[in-house]
């Protein structure tokens, strides 16, 4: 358990943002999400299953996602996660605040280097 917490993500909320962003364009099931993030980040980011599923449930509870029964590519039953309007709004707000934070961090780093 401890292991999962240490490696959960870069900072609080990062995993949520990545999940929301990935689902923005296409509803996916859990395993697809893991693969998607891995691919998009060129293997830089690895999502821990120990964090993914509880995070998905948290986001369902917040109303940012909804789940529906679906069939996986292999024809087995699974659950597909889809972004809600509420989720889109939350993502936009989060992205905005992240960008501000990145900008701030970048400036500080630039200043320190100068």
């Amino acid at each position: 358990m401890a292991k999962n917490h240490e490696h959960r993500d870069l900072f609080p909320g990062a995993l949520e943002i990545m999940i929301l962003q990935s689902l923005r364009f296409k509803p996916m099931h859990g395993y697809a999400l893991v693969k998607h993030i891995k691919q998009v980040s060129d293997n830089l980011l690895q999502v821990e299953e120990g964090s993914l599923y509880p995070a998905l449930q948290r986001m369902l509870r917040e109303g940012w996602l909804e789940s529906e029964s679906g069939i996986s590519a292999k024809g087995r039953p699974t659950r597909i996660y889809r972004l809600t309007d509420e989720g889109v709004r939350h993502l936009d707000a989060e992205v905005l605040s992240f960008e501000k934070m990145f900008a701030g961090i970048t400036r500080v780093l630039a200043d320190a280097r100068a």
Partner: protein, 901 residues
């Protein structure tokens, strides 16, 4: 349980969610397997790898589900459900544990309720912490040193203190007496509390109806008033609110009812029917008359020490302001060295019963500990049988904390269930306590379950659950998973570590049981010592007692009183089956305040002129014979002696020895009260009587004849006892039939005379032993519970180890060990445990029994007989408890034992 389950799920609509999680995760793993197989892995390998990559699936599912739960609460609930299911699977064990706990917790709750009501709750008066009982120390007053509490106040002392003190908001004195109420239906003898000004103001309990006494009511020449207590008001007046202003004949005096006190009101610890103003007349009071109980309310911020100092300074003022009559020395009391010894009222009310209660509380607490140890032992056996299950769960990813929590939940659950069951036991226990509690246990009737008791039960239930759960849980937590797995496999014998902690528990149990057994043995020895005390009367079960008060209104002439009393005695003696009759001012152990006189022996010189204070009693002819108090020398009074008012006296054996060396030597010698009183000849010496109870030393007593010259009256006149306690020796004592005939006999003399304080000497005798027998019974119950529990504990440990070591025994037998040696091997183990436990217990007992010192009589707390026999008895019981299971080894067939594996 299933319904609860469903209710939860439906309520929160989560079953679907939980299915979703499982399906998602299953698909996750399946897809990964597919991928790996595409990479050329075999299905088995791929599945294995996918699972390993995914991690602890059960845990991740749980975490995901927890998002939807009140996480902590619900997982606890599911543990509770699981624990309940498991307990239901082993009903025998569960029932044993619950029964043990119900008894243990129940006993504790019952005793706690008593302690709570009697010792912890404040007195039922507003701001009762400021109330003080006013007692004086008088080390110089020889006879008075017999009193535990000290010297009470005299009216003049009260008047001085009340007028000049700077420490009290209010103060007053009071005295209980019997009063005859006439004019309503039957003549009625009631308890009256006579109050001075300031008592009601000190207690601060408002009336239910009407008003308190005012200073006008305390004017000896003012209007005569009376107040009623709630019970009497209900009983006699049916709670009529128009009672205020009506009048009542009290001892022949007409008094106007001015107020009614509310339900439950008492004057300190005294129940009463009427309140009557004392109405002291300051112009007539003397220094003497130390018969009044004083109470006061301290001013805020004033301590008892300050109040003591304040009153000390008033003692000489008191001696300067009053006298005992012309010619007497007012500073005589300097010899007594009177100093104030004020104490909190609560301490006064509780007295040394507090000691008894704390001992009993400690005792049942110890029993509870022993019970917990037993339950811990049982749970440990269970945890061991569950080793395999727990190991598998640990291997499947259950966290250690999770399993420990589950074990604890199970034990706390047992504790709480036991606690619930204990309420019945506690209720029955309280009824039992109320029935057999000693008379000096104040407010016993008020003891009840309240929020405090329930809180205590719950706290004790949870605490004991944690206590006996922690031992197996802690042991589990210390064991490595691998060790558990190995432990579950077959090894020749149980691991030493596991056996050791059970042994430690047995040692603790034996030690605690020993302490309890030693305490109860000490009480048994005390009780036996008390029973051996010759009380100074005999055949107590067949001596009926009752008292009669003849008020002035009924017989003004004291001679008439004496005539009436003799007539009553004669009529009583004529009842069939009555062997003899006598009367006195007080019968032994009836709790009536003793009376004291200054007595001088002829030919002796005393500092200050007067002899020391001696306890006295007035007795009629035949009184000693009726009580079975035998004459040691000389003779009893005769009616002739009384009627002629011959100057004669009978003394107790101890008084005779003290003054003349021997009983015989006392006959013909003379004593007198004060200087100037006539000398009175000693005509008889009687055996010593323990008038204050068997556990109190028998005091020296002077017996005056029941008719005498009252030298205080002006002019001195013949006087008799207006208040007399009759003793009737009859084989029919205590029967309704005799009582009815007694009533007829008394009423044939005067139909207005009520009979009071009806009982037998046996009852008085038992009452005086009540504190000891109460403690004895409580300790004996606790001691036997402790003994039974620890014997079960020893039996359990040996029996379990025999089962565990069956294989080892088989090998030993196969190798040629003798069966008797094997049996001895187990018994020896038990005896070693008992030996260690006994050593620890003896040490603890030697320290703890000192707390009981005041409860013991005639033996030392370190009584060698007790400290020798109890361990021997315990060892014998332990040997038996271990021999029975050990004998089973003899039945073991080595071939079977080895094949069993």
């Amino acid at each position: 349980m299933e319904t609860v389950n469903r209710l939860f799920s439906r309520l929160l609509g989560r079953r679907r969610r939980f299915d979703d999680i499982s399906v998602s995760i299953q698909e996750h793993i399946d897809e990964r397997v597919d991928e790996l197989m595409e990479d050329g892995m075999s299905r088995d390998k791929a599945e294995q790898a996918a699972r390993r990559e995914f991690g602890n699936r059960a845990l991740i599912e749980e975490r995901s589900r927890e998002v939807w739960q009140w996480a902590a609460l619900e997982s606890v609930l599911s543990d509770v459900r699981f624990a309940l299911r498991r307990l239901g699977k082993s009903p025998g064990l569960t029932a044993t544990i619950l029964l043990t706990l119900a008894m243990g917790i129940g006993a504790n709750t019952a005793v706690f309720s008593v302690v709570n009501s009697v010792l912890l709750k404040p007195l039922p008066y507003p701001h009762s912490e400021g109330l003080a009982a006013l007692w004086m120390n008088a080390p110089g007053a020889a006879g008075l040193s017999n009193f535990d509490s000290g010297l009470q106040l005299s009216p003049s002392m009260y008047l001085t203190f009340a007028r000049h003190n700077h420490s009290f908001q209010s103060m007053g004195v009071w005295q209980m007496r019997n009063a005859n109420v006439t004019g309503i239906a039957q003549p009625d003898e009631v308890n009256a509390a006579c109050l001075s000004d300031g008592v009601l103001e000190t207690l601060q309990v408002p009336t239910a109806l009407g008003r308190w006494f005012t200073s006008a009511d305390q004017d000896p020449r003012g209007a005569k008033t009376v107040m009623l207590n709630y019970g009497y008001w209900q009983r006699r007046f049916g709670g009529d609110r128009a009672v205020i202003g009506r009048s009542l004949q009290v001892d022949g005096k007409t008094r106007t009812i001015v107020g009614v006190m509310p339900e439950g009101f008492r004057v300190v610890d005294q129940e009463f029917d009427l309140l009557i103003p004392l109405a002291f007349d300051p112009t007539n009071e003397k220094l003497a008359g130390f018969g009044y109980t004083g109470i006061a309310r301290l001013k805020p911020g004033v301590s008892l020490v300050q109040a003591d100092a304040d009153a000390s300074r008033l003692i000489s003022l008191w001696m300067d302001s009053w006298t005992n009559g012309p010619g007497s020395n007012p500073h005589y009391y300097e010899v007594w060295r009177i100093t104030p010894n004020f104490r909190p009222l609560k301490q006064q009310v509780i007295g040394n019963i507090g000691n008894v209660l704390w001992v009993v509380m400690a005792t049942v607490g110890l029993v509870m500990l022993i019970a917990c140890v037993n339950v811990a032992n049982l749970l440990m056996v269970r945890a061991e049988t569950r080793h395999q299950e727990l190991s598998i769960r640990a291997a499947l990813g259950a966290g250690r904390a999770r399993i420990v929590r589950e074990l604890l939940i199970e034990s706390v659950l047992l504790g709480v269930m036991g606690g619930a069951a204990s309420l019945g036991v506690a209720y029955a226990g309280l009824r039992l306590l109320a029935a057999m509690g000693p008379a000096d246990l104040p407010r016993l009737s008020e003891v009840s379950f309240d929020a405090g008791s329930l809180g205590f039960t719950f706290a004790l239930a949870v605490f004991s659950g944690l206590l006996f759960g922690l031992i197996p849980a802690w042991k589990y937590a210390r064991t490595k998973t691998s060790a558990i797995m190995i432990g579950a496999n077959r090894t020749a014998s149980t691991g030493r570590a596991r056996q050791r902690s059970r042994s430690v528990l047995v040692v603790a149990q034996v030690a605690m049981a020993l302490v309890l057994l030693v305490s109860s043995a000490l009480m048994i020895r005390t009780f036996a010592a008390l029973r051996r005390v010759e009380p100074g009367f005999a055949d107590a079960a067949h001596v009926q007692t009752m008292s009669i008060f003849i008020p002035e209104q009924m017989a003004k002439d004291p001679r008439m009183v004496a005539v009436m009393q003799r007539e009553i005695a004669d009529k009583l003696a004529a009842i069939p089956g009555v062997a003899s009759v006598g009367f006195a001012a007080a019968v032994p152990m009836d709790g009536n305040d003793p009376n004291w006189d200054l007595i001088s022996v002829e030919g002796k010189e005393y500092p200050g002129g007067d002899g020391p204070l001696q306890l006295y009693n007035y007795v009629s002819p035949g009184y000693f014979q009726t009580l079975g108090t035998h004459m040691v020398a000389g003779r009893d009074f005769t009616w002739d002696d009384l009627e002629q008012v011959r100057p004669m006296v009978v003394v107790s054996e101890s008084y005779a020895r003290e003054n003349w060396g021997a009983a015989q030597a006392a006959i013909g010698k003379r004593v007198r009260k004060y200087q100037g009183s006539p000398w009175q000849e000693v005509i008889g010496v009687v055996q010593d009587v323990h008038v204050h109870g068997v556990d109190e030393k028998a005091p020296a007593i002077i017996y005056w004849p029941a008719m005498f010259y009252d030298r205080f009256a002006t002019p001195p006149t013949m006087d008799g006892l207006r208040f007399a306690s009759f003793a009737i020796h009859s084989s029919r004592a205590g029967t309704e039939g005799l009582l009815a005939e007694m009533q007829q006999a008394v009423w044939s003399v005067n139909a207005n005379l009520p009979l009071a304080s009806i009982g037998t000497m046996q009852q008085l005798y038992r009452q005086s032993m009540a504190r000891t027998s109460f403690t004895l019974v409580m300790l004996a119950i606790a001691g036997s519970m402790a003994l039974a529990l620890s014997i079960i504990g020893i039996y359990g440990v040996i029996s379990y180890s025999v089962t565990q070591r069956t294989r080892e025994i088989g090998i030993r037998l196969a190798l040629g060990a003798k069966k008797s040696e094997l049996v001895w091997m187990f018994v020896r183990t038990a005896l070693v445990l008992v030996g260690v436990g006994t050593a620890v217990g003896l040490g603890a007992a030697a320290v703890l029994v000192r707390l009981m010192r005041t409860l013991l009589y005639g033996i030392s707390p370190l009584d060698p007989i007790t400290f020798l026999t109890v361990p021997i008895a315990l060892a014998a019981a332990a040997a038996l408890a271990s021999y029975l299971p050990a004998r089973r080894t003899a039945a073991i067939d080595p071939v079977e034992a080895l094949r069993a594996e």
